[in-house]
Symmetry: C2
Subunit: 435 residues, 2 copies
């Protein structure tokens, strides 16, 4: 076994896969020494063999049929880097059943069907590695599962979507509106074809769902059991407000556990963070993950959350673990995730401080009506500002609240949305408590 | 093997060991599931059996003779948590030769005799884990070796001593002198008996030496091949200057590699960091490690660098890896560290920008003489301030320089130290470039 050469097959040859191929080719000697074994870049399944790509792959190693890799008994490790949730799922299951070790960066498929994938890996005595699925180059899965194995995690939060962080950073630095920055980001190709995945928080939701599973042993469905909102509604007025209080707005993905009640709360939403929190100082395409453990206290991990090389770094780490596994040294299987005694929190159980922005007609009585609606839900206002609106006859009302429940805010917003003294829906930000 | 109970022996039962014992006892079920195996806290070697301690250990598990643990064939894992470099070394070597897996938090012994320890582990087909030796609760060794296995590291730097960071944070926040803060820290018991280890940079030097070995495969002797200076000389004047330029002073341990020449430079010294660097925002007893890899780019890892629980978290992670190893799943042996083609840099090869503070007589001609000494070494001044001194007839001269070599600064300081127009030795800070 010691002199065996491990053969790696790639399904999907996009940006990330090309990065992995390139680095494993270039650093063959160093990687062989570090892996403690030789490896071979054996085969790659692509959509069109004839297409030009950034790395030179000999024609005889290319195929358009993934089963040429899955059914090849000489292939040890399959890197699923095709994305999507339908074909990717089938291919992953087939590869695991064929006895391959699978490495994946596909957060969507893990979030949706992780339970089945891990179960298949387990029952075939195989392994599935997915470091690159969360926070790109930051090895947060290894940190959470191995480096911090001693801990229970009461709070995990962070910036898990680089595109949103890039947009928010540019809005703040250039004093530019969301619309103008997103237009520019589209031009530069920084936004995916399906831009809702990034902008509306779903990508970050998939990632926090994976971290929540690893920490608590519970699969949280973003579309059912998570509050998910993105960055579309954020205006410069909100950023100005945040700045006045030495804060910054970030799209925060989080999962918190109330240790007394066992209630879990997972969410993705824009939040106002104090600049004293290092996470608030993580800008541009960088990601950050803050893990609060009962033994270690708080640790924070920062790095590039996307991009060819950063993601390739994580995939290569998984290949190293896959080789260790195949040498008879399995890394932690997903089966050793401990399912804690827990349940999803109700919105009545989750309390935070909030920031509310409303577009209102500029006439007397409005403030009283809004204040009365908030009071009716038991929401106590901490600060209030009325700001000039760019349109004649309108005004902005900005509130921050004392601690109140998500449920109360939700009810108040529904009421205000229907009221004739508030245009549109109130825009909500959470005021994040870092500790 | 699957149903085997792994027996753990402790040599040394101080703060950290008690933390490990406490958490492994309290979280037995969760840890058993995560480790994939049962374990037993089997024996503890203490200095005085009769001494009171924070955890209840049954009398029959206590011994005053470490060889009662080393020679007990039923013990699988030995945690060396006694500290020191002489007995700890002998005990570690004996334990490895007796076929034990050894877990250690002892940076001093690794820095001094790591080569022999790793070699002994290797030749006895054993394993030695030491996550807790660097940066306490931050799993930086696992991150560097496993999570970022794809990378070569051109630059590693960070805050590796919590005591110094605590002192610097209090000096800055309270506008308090070094002398008053250290006096208070001594009163509170935050400073070790041998305080030079922390304050003069040696503890951080041991830690950066370990990271340098893991990254570059070269053992760097702090007392021979490293610039090591601590925080004793820092004055409030320096902090005020740093603040004016939106910077903060931190004790930075670093190892940099010039990829073109292969020259390595390792150092521990106080440096001026821009507040835009997250590392500059890591305060109190927290540590931070920034790793710049050729594939992943920059990642930063932050957490508590010391303390019972944070360090226990790292030791427990090592115990998990030790159990995985004993189940036939060895984690990366130290033998897979790749010794790169490299050599130590000369001081002529290392260029930085510098801050120099000098106490001078308040009379004409002094500035000209100092300026001429700097010019004589080819050092070009960027900024200059003369500040009031608390003593009549004296003044402070503060300079920053354009990029110049460590050798030129060293020569200039030696000259200025001897000059009759400078009292004492010039105080030097490096102006850190984070990227």
């Amino acid at each position: 076994m010691q002199n065996k050469t491990f053969k790696i097959g790639f399904i999907g040859m996009g940006t990330v896969a090309q990065g992995v191929w390139k680095h494993l080719e270039k650093s063959f000697e160093t990687m062989t020494a570090r892996f403690g074994a030789k490896y071979e870049l054996a085969k790659a399944c692509v959509r069109y063999i004839s297409k030009k790509r950034g790395v030179d792959i000999p024609l005889e190693k290319l195929t358009e049929n993934p089963y040429d890799i899955i059914n090849d008994p000489s292939i040890d490790i399959v890197c699923e880097l095709m994305g999507g949730t339908t074909d990717a799922f089938d291919i992953t299951i087939s590869a695991l059943k064929a006895g391959k070790v699978v490495v994946s960066a596909n957060k969507a498929v893990i979030c949706k069907r992780g339970a089945e994938i891990f179960e298949t890996a387990q029952s075939n005595n195989g392994a599935y590695f997915f470091e690159a699925s969360v926070a790109g180059g930051i090895p947060v899965i290894k940190v959470l599962r191995e480096g911090l194995v001693a801990n229970r995690f009461s709070k995990i939060y962070g910036i898990l979507n680089g595109t949103c962080n890039y947009i928010l950073t540019r809005m703040e630095r250039e004093n530019a509106s969301y619309d103008s920055v997103i237009a520019d980001a589209r031009r530069l190709g920084y936004v995916e074809a399906d831009e809702s995945l990034d902008i509306d928080g779903w990508d970050a939701a998939h990632k926090i769902s994976i971290l929540a599973y690893l920490a608590h042993g519970v699969w949280i469905d973003p579309s059912k059991d998570m509050l998910v909102s993105g960055i579309r509604g954020i205006r410069l007025e909100d950023m100005v407000w945040a700045k006045e209080f030495d804060c910054r707005i970030k799209l925060i993905a989080s999962v918190r556990k109330n240790e007394e009640t066992g209630a879990l709360f997972a969410a993705v939403y824009p939040a106002i963070l104090p600049l004293t929190d290092v996470v608030a100082n993580v800008n541009e395409v960088y990601n950050a993950v803050s893990l609060t453990g009962d033994v270690v206290g708080r640790t924070v991990h920062i790095g590039r959350g996307a991009g060819q090389d950063a993601t390739a770094s994580a995939v290569i780490a998984d290949i190293a673990d896959a080789i260790a596994y195949l040498q008879g040294k399995p890394a932690r299987p997903a089966s050793n995730v401990v399912a804690e005694k827990s349940r999803m929190a109700t919105l009545e159980e989750v309390s935070d401080e909030f920031y509310l922005r409303m577009e209102v007609p500029d006439r007397s009585g409005v403030l009283a009506s809004v204040a009365s609606d908030l009071a009716g839900e038991g929401i106590s206002v901490e600060l209030l500002q009325q700001r000039k609106h760019e349109t004649e006859g309108k005004a902005w009302l900005l509130f921050t609240t004392h601690k109140t429940t998500e449920a109360a805010i939700k009810r108040a917003c529904e009421k205000l949305k229907k009221a004739d003294y508030v245009f549109d829906e109130p825009f909500v930000l959470r005021i994040w408590k870092s500790e």
